[in-house]
């Protein structure tokens, strides 16, 4: 495997002094006020609040009243490069991630052409080394062209830096095909991430099957299209002792299947998106195409099960499934619109507003789940501790904003939370030791 699985563009190692920050890192068990010194991109010192003075070459940031967290990690984003740069590119997508407090992300391979060969991965990583604001990694395809028929050269792809493999956007329809990929994993390693959907059940569907789809006359996607496929693949993973990651869980039955698989000791992990944690089929009633995603928004019962799964740990982490689409692609009738919502810039604020403030989840648990994705792909988890590389996000937990009111860092604006009043503003993001995002108004205050 390549030495450095994540790549990012050139950044200047930061020298910062964040004074009187409320530092919260659930893994380091820190939840108190500190002065935090970052030197040369590393966390150099954690000291009692108000005790450190800035050196002449340090930027002094008054972080009093603000919360300093380990930067978030998103194991599921679509950066649309190569081939769909009108939706997003490496620069705009990682800029959106930085603005959302993310210090790392993993891009999916459903691009044009599909990321399914080592030369393509090499050129993409080269491009990321010039353009990416934050470190990004790539999951190439399991099967060539996402066609579900032939394996990609998984071993060579791993040598070239593949973090794992996925046919995201599509299921691996054939159990025999997936089994071969799981067997081949013994040679090359790499987490295999699975989009679970039985197309014979979901065919023709554009939203969750239920009362709302019946009322709107929209084709329904039944929850069992996800849960039955997930059960099949969990059993295959158990049988082959393979390491798999189930993407974007959306319903009660899937949470139950994952709980069962984990109870068997199978090496499975899973993720859930902010939109599945916060929205339901009721939000589709207006046929707003920003509410059209795959898997679709399901029922309130499903939503609650996902929140509970995340809380008690059946669901390992939060992933945005950031899926940008151009305005004219989404400004069409619901059935014609492509699936997907952007999510990087709103993930933390939406979950903080929707789950932490009402007392459903504790902030420290949310932070844990928003950083847990890295370890699932054998990457170091960002930590706030002396000697660690600086991966930090500074947040004003009282800061209110309306999602999208000042536009987006992403090239696309198809965010399901657009127009909602959210609480929790990202002020500053440090990724791999460099300042990658600074909220405009905040930089003035800080100076």
């Amino acid at each position: 495997m390549a030495a450095n699985p994540l790549v990012q563009g050139p950044g200047v190692p930061a020298n910062l002094l964040l004074s009187r920050a409320h530092v919260l890192d659930p893994r380091a068990d820190i939840d108190a006020l500190y002065d935090v010194r970052v030197r040369g991109g590393e966390i150099a010192e954690l000291a009692a609040p108000g005790t450190l003075d800035p050196a002449t070459d340090e930027e002094a940031i008054d972080a009093s009243g603000r919360t300093l967290l380990p930067a978030f990690f998103d194991p599921h984003v679509h950066l649309r490069t190569p081939g769909q740069e009108h939706k997003e590119d490496l620069e705009t997508g990682t800029r959106a991630a930085a603005a959302g407090g993310f210090g790392g992300a993993i891009a999916m391979p459903n691009t044009e052409p599909v990321l399914d060969s080592a030369p393509l991965l090499r050129s993409l990583r080269d491009a990321a080394a010039r353009e990416a604001r934050i470190p990004v990694g790539f999951l190439p395809a399991i099967t060539r062209g996402l066609a579900g028929e032939e394996l990609t050269e998984m071993a060579e792809l791993r040598q070239e830096g593949a973090l794992g493999f996925t046919d995201d956007g599509r299921p691996v329809a054939s159990a025999g095909m997936l089994r071969k990929a799981l067997q081949y994993q013994r040679l090359c390693g790499g987490t295999i991430a699975l989009h679970e959907e039985d197309s014979s059940l979901s065919k023709g569907g554009t939203m969750h099957e239920g009362a709302v789809s019946a009322a709107l006359g929209l084709g329904g996607i039944p929850s069992v299209s996800e849960s039955t496929m997930l059960a099949r693949d969990a059993a295959l993973a158990g049988y082959e002792d393979a390491r798999v990651h189930f993407q974007h869980l959306s319903c009660v039955a899937s949470v139950q299947v994952v709980a069962h698989a984990k109870a068997q000791g199978w090496k499975v992990s899973t993720e859930v998106t902010p939109h599945h944690l916060l929205l339901t089929e009721e939000d589709v009633r207006g046929m707003d195409t920003r509410m059209k995603m795959n898997p679709p928004l399901a029922t309130e019962q499903d939503r609650k099960a996902l929140v509970e799964g995340l809380r008690e740990g059946t669901i390992d982490c939060v992933a945005t499934d950031h899926a940008p689409h151009a305005r004219d692609e989404k400004e069409v009738p619901f059935e014609q619109a492509p699936m997907g919502t952007t999510g990087l810039e709103t993930a933390f604020a939406a979950l903080y507003t929707g789950l932490v403030l009402p007392g459903v989840l504790e902030l420290r648990l949310l932070v844990e789940r928003m950083t847990a994705g890295a370890a699932l792909f054998e990457l170091p988890t960002p930590r706030i501790a002396t000697g660690e590389p600086a991966n930090l996000t500074l947040i004003d937990l009282d800061g209110e904003w309306v999602a999208g009111e000042h536009g987006w860092e992403s090239r696309s604006e198809n965010c399901c939370f657009a127009g909602r009043r959210l609480q929790g503003r990202v002020l500053l993001t440090v990724a791999a030791g460099a300042v990658v995002y600074r909220e405009r108004a905040f930089s003035v205050v800080a100076a």
Partner: protein, 316 residues
């Protein structure tokens, strides 16, 4: 009312007002000269993305009887086939300043979208499998003038392919708003899961059909066989066809047309005294006159009025 996008958004009073207006226009249809000048100088644009003979010609007749100008725009053979988006087509056609656009598309919610993009009054003439509000209004009108005399308290069975039917959805809503008890019946593969949330009852056989005051049969489309919703038309007909054996003498039989004789209806019932299928077609014109009149007469400024300052400027 600015648009007619769905039955869902109408209340009972609005439905009754349109039906009453249609009754006044029915009198016009019986005259030798069937035209009134109510919408003279107004332009109605028929924009149809799906094949339709009856609905389109019914809207065209309705507009002409109100003395409006009518332009027909069919998606086939037009810029749409060259890949133009719905929005671009609507914006382009809006340059002609239609006062109303009658829109049929295969996509749910398309009429509502279009209503946000242009100033014309939008009439939904069918949006995918979502709604077909003028069909429901003409069915209400027809029932009111049928032997039944009204809808309040009536038991209405809607039979057939409910899953793919916008007529079913609009009628379930309309009939219930007017006080009827609605039951949908059909093969389990063609009754959408969750439909009972609209307030109707669901049956998978016609065993209790005799309880119905009104039997509303839906069109069975042949492509449903190839999609495996049904094993065969023969089996469908033997379980769900409305025929002389199933239809009682006091029941009213309706169908949105076009009828597949020998499939959803037997030939004998199509021609039976219980059937009001031709009355439904007649009702189509007067109800659509009432809808256009409701939307365009009165408060709304004509988009194509040559005396409007911006239009004068363009002409100069």
């Amino acid at each position: 009312m600015n648009h007619l996008l769905s039955i869902e958004e109408l209340d009972r009073e609005e439905i009754e007002r349109i039906v009453a207006q249609a009754e006044r226009f029915a009198e016009v249809s019986d005259r030798e000269i069937k035209k009134v000048p109510a919408l003279r100088g107004r332009m109605v644009l028929n924009l149809f993305y799906e094949a339709s003979t009856r609905t389109r010609s019914s809207f065209e007749l309705a507009a002409k009887r109100l003395s409006a100008d009518v332009v027909n725009f069919a998606a086939s053979g037009s810029s749409v086939e060259k890949g133009e988006s719905l929005k671009d087509t609507v914006l382009t056609l809006s340059a002609h300043k239609p006062d109303a656009i009658v829109l049929r598309t295969p996509w749910a919610g398309a009429s509502e979208l279009v209503s946000k993009w242009c100033g014309a009054a939008i009439v939904n003439a069918g949006d995918g499998k979502h709604e077909h509000p003028t069909q429901a209004l003409l069915d209400v009108y027809t029932l009111k003038r049928s032997r039944l005399g009204g809808i309040d308290g009536a038991s209405i069975w809607i039979v057939g392919d409910v899953a793919h039917s916008r007529v079913a959805r609009s009628n379930i809503i309309a009939f219930q708003k007017l006080g009827a008890k609605v039951t949908v019946a059909g093969p389990p593969t063609l009754i959408p899961r969750g439909i009972e949330a609209l307030g109707c009852e669901v049956r998978f056989t016609l065993d209790e059909l005799s309880k119905a005051d009104v039997v509303y049969a839906l069109r069975m489309q042949h492509e449903r066989m190839s999609e495996s919703f049904l094993p065969s038309l023969r089996e469908y007909a033997s379980w769900y066809q409305i025929n002389g054996r199933r239809l009682g003498p006091r029941q009213v039989l309706m169908h949105p047309g076009p009828v597949n004789r020998g499939v959803e209806l037997s030939g004998e019932v199509v021609d039976s005294p219980q059937a009001v299928i031709t009355a439904q077609v007649e009702a189509g014109v007067v109800v659509r006159m009432a809808v256009l009149y409701e939307l365009l007469a009165g408060a709304r400024e004509p988009q194509s009025d040559p005396d409007r300052p911006e239009n004068v400027k363009q002409l100069a």
